[in-house]
């Protein structure tokens, strides 16, 4: 996770680069970097399951932003439906909340990254940027809490996209 952790640290640094009157460039790069921190965290965790370490980088390039978003939207919807049934407190429920945090944060910050990189008309504020960075930090913590759980590993596989197999 070293690269992902470094990116998150860099995002925080960029967001606080100018104590007053932050430059839009700094804020935009902070948002984009925070997204890539989470993006690379999830990919590195997924590819860790590949036994041949020399091929993990290549495998990581198979992941696509759109498919990862779609999988995260599906997971978040599934978990929201589950929470709506008011399930009793349990270790499984705690895991579900952590996974919801990861999936939801991925969706939110991915859109922010797109805005930061391409929507030059948008005026960023430090509050909005720190909201994203804090959310990514929380997603990192949630992921660390559940990374070995089957449901978390299943989520990683889903990030590759739906199965498409023709006869």
């Amino acid at each position: 996770m070293a690269y992902a952790d470094d990116l998150l640290e860099l995002a925080q640094h960029l967001a606080n680069l100018e104590p007053t009157n932050p430059r839009q460039a700094s804020l935009r790069r902070a948002v984009s970097t925070a997204y890539y921190a989470l993006f690379h965290l999830l990919i590195s965790e997924a590819t860790l399951n590949w036994g041949r370490s020399e091929l993990r980088s290549e495998l990581g390039r198979v992941f696509e932003h759109g498919k990862m978003k779609h999988a995260s939207v599906e997971k978040r919807s599934e978990l929201n439906a589950h929470f709506g049934k008011n399930p009793p407190p349990s270790p499984e429920l705690v895991i579900s909340h952590h996974l919801h945090t990861v999936a939801d944060t991925f969706i939110q910050v991915q859109q922010k990254r797109n805005d930061a990189d391409y929507d030059t008309g948008k005026e960023w504020t430090r509050t909005d940027v720190l909201t994203q960075i804090d959310a990514v930090s929380a997603a990192f913590e949630s992921w660390k809490a559940i990374r070995d759980e089957p449901v978390a590993q299943g989520y990683l596989v889903s990030l590759l996209g739906k199965r498409q197999r023709s006869e």
Binding site: K69, S77, N80, Q111, E123, T127, L130, D134
Partner: protein, 111 residues
């Protein structure tokens, strides 16, 4: 060539007056730290129907030690009470700024 494909329009776009009412009703439940709640309908980066909320927070809730908790609570409350995707067919996205920041920027879209 004829195209008979059914075009799906999210309920949020088709029934904007009702959506306005629903958002205003949710706003009333969010507490004093939510000073403004505005929204725009559109598409997200991948072309999916989306609702983009713009929320002005009190300076108290915008403090660094309060920010994550405050924004999580607000976003969760809006999602639970409005159910943007399940009831209105749009993915929710949240944008926050502080009262002080809005006072400086004076953006009409956030006022």
């Amino acid at each position: 060539m004829r195209d008979n494909e059914v075009v799906y329009i999210a309920k949020a776009f088709a029934q904007q007056a009702q959506l306005d009412e629903a958002v205003n009703a949710v706003k009333q439940t969010l507490g004093p730290d939510v000073l403004r709640l505005r929204y725009t309908l559109g598409q997200d980066w991948s072309g999916e129907s989306a609702i983009f909320f713009r929320i002005v927070l009190s300076d108290r809730a915008s403090r660094r030690d309060q920010l994550l908790n405050a924004t999580n609570q607000i976003a969760t409350a809006i999602v639970e009470r409005l159910q943007p995707l399940e009831q209105w067919g749009v993915l929710p996205y949240f944008n926050f700024r502080s009262q002080s920041e809005q006072a400086i920027l004076q953006e009409e879209a956030w006022a």
